[in-house]
């Protein structure tokens, strides 16, 4: 296991996984997630498992980023954004000025 390609593949996987965890915004996390999928695909081929690499590339490159980005879009649409918490006091202020 001292071949250089395997070392390079392992290093890439470690870097991609660390980046996935450290990127906090989920919309931006889809990018390192796809990178992790690619790195794992390469690592699986380096470990002489081409069929597993096929599945991993299919899942990790197209499917997972698509699901994550769609979820971000839907969750952002249904969740109350934090900025709206300021809207209520502004409305009260607004109505008080109307009554004056």
């Amino acid at each position: 296991m001292t071949d250089l390609p395997l070392l390079a593949g392992l290093a890439l996987v470690v870097a991609a996984a660390t980046a996935t965890v450290l990127v906090r915004d989920p919309g931006r996390q889809a990018f390192p997630l796809a990178l992790l999928g690619l790195a794992l695909g390469v690592l699986f081929l380096l470990l002489q498992a081409p069929d597993v690499a096929l599945s991993q590339l299919a899942v990790g490159c197209a499917l997972t980023p698509l699901m994550v980005l769609l979820t971000v879009r839907k969750a952002r649409r249904r969740a109350r954004p934090r900025g709206r918490a300021d809207a209520a006091p502004a409305r009260l202020r607004h109505e008080e000025e109307d009554r004056e």
């Binding site: 071949d3 250089l4 390609p5 390079a8 593949g9 890439l12 870097a15 991609a16 980046a19 990127v23 919309g27 931006r28 889809a30 990018f31 390192p32 796809a34 990178l35 690619l38 790195a39 695909g41 390469v42 081929l45 380096l46 002489q48 081409p50 690499a53 096929l54 590339l57 299919a58 490159c61 197209a62 980023p65 698509l66 980005l69 769609l70 879009r73 952002r76 649409r77 954004p81 900025g83 709206r84 300021d86 809207a87 502004a90 409305r91 202020r93 607004h94 000025e97 109307d98």
Partner: protein, 239 residues
């Protein structure tokens, strides 16, 4: 450890490494372009590994990636179109990056085609090369042509129609609403902290609003006969 494996390692370290850095940091358009470059380079690495391990069966993974990689990148372009529109890529840089893609594909595929004899494997290699080039081209086109504006209501920059004190009767043009809506004109024309142009009719129309035939200040369309106002003042005052 033969030359092909060494070339694959070199491509992995010197090519995919910086491209991966570009994917993880930076503005969205750079990330998408770097993602495209990464899938192309990884596909080439897979081809080199297949040759280095002397297993033609490994070429199928590169073929799959050549098909699915651009699809994944197009997913990003489509779903992140508003973010790309905010900071669009510089055309020359994008063109340089696409050119890098083509050069890398050619530089790797030509020696591989020379090493493989004529036959099915050569055809596979050429198909992969063409798919990779097409994928890069399509992605670059999508990024420059893509951000034409929100296609659905959910991709508009400020989300669904803002509820709150903004829409108090005002003709809301999409371009004039912005994040924190503290400068919205009030019903009687007084804006808490916003640009105060007094006179009720002027406040109904913000600078960006087109002067359309929407409801005017007293709620009547311009052409309708006035039933309130002076007429209401008469009987109202008389009661």
């Amino acid at each position: 450890m033969n030359g092909w494996l060494a070339a694959a390692t070199a491509l992995l370290v010197c090519g995919v490494g910086p491209a991966a850095y570009g994917v993880v940091t930076g503005p969205v358009h750079r990330r998408i372009a770097a993602q495209n470059l990464t899938t192309t380079l990884v596909s080439l690495v897979l081809l080199l590994l297949a040759q280095g391990y002397a297993r033609p069966a490994y070429v199928d993974t590169a073929l799959l990636l050549a098909v699915l990689g651009p699809a994944g990148t197009l997913v990003y372009v489509r779903l992140l179109a508003p973010d790309v529109a905010e900071r669009p890529p510089r055309p020359r840089r994008l063109r340089a990056l696409t050119l890098t893609n083509y050069v890398a594909v050619a530089a790797v595929t030509l020696p591989l085609c020379a090493a493989a004899g004529p036959g099915r494997s050569l055809a596979k290699l050429l198909v992969i090369a063409v798919l990779l080039g097409l994928g890069s081209h399509v992605t670059a086109r999508a990024m420059t042509a893509g951000p034409g504006g929100p296609a659905d209501d959910e991709t508009s920059p400020d989300g669904p129609a803002p509820d709150g004190p903004v829409t108090g009767g005002r003709v809301t043009g999409g371009a004039s609403t912005d994040g924190p809506v503290t400068g919205a004109p009030a019903d009687d024309g007084r804006t808490p902290g916003g640009p105060v142009t007094d006179g009720p009719v002027d406040d109904r129309r913000a600078p960006g609003d087109p002067v359309t035939d929407g409801p005017t200040y007293d709620g009547q369309p311009p052409g309708a006969p006035l039933t309130n106002g002076p007429a209401a003042g008469g009987p109202g005052a008389g009661r």
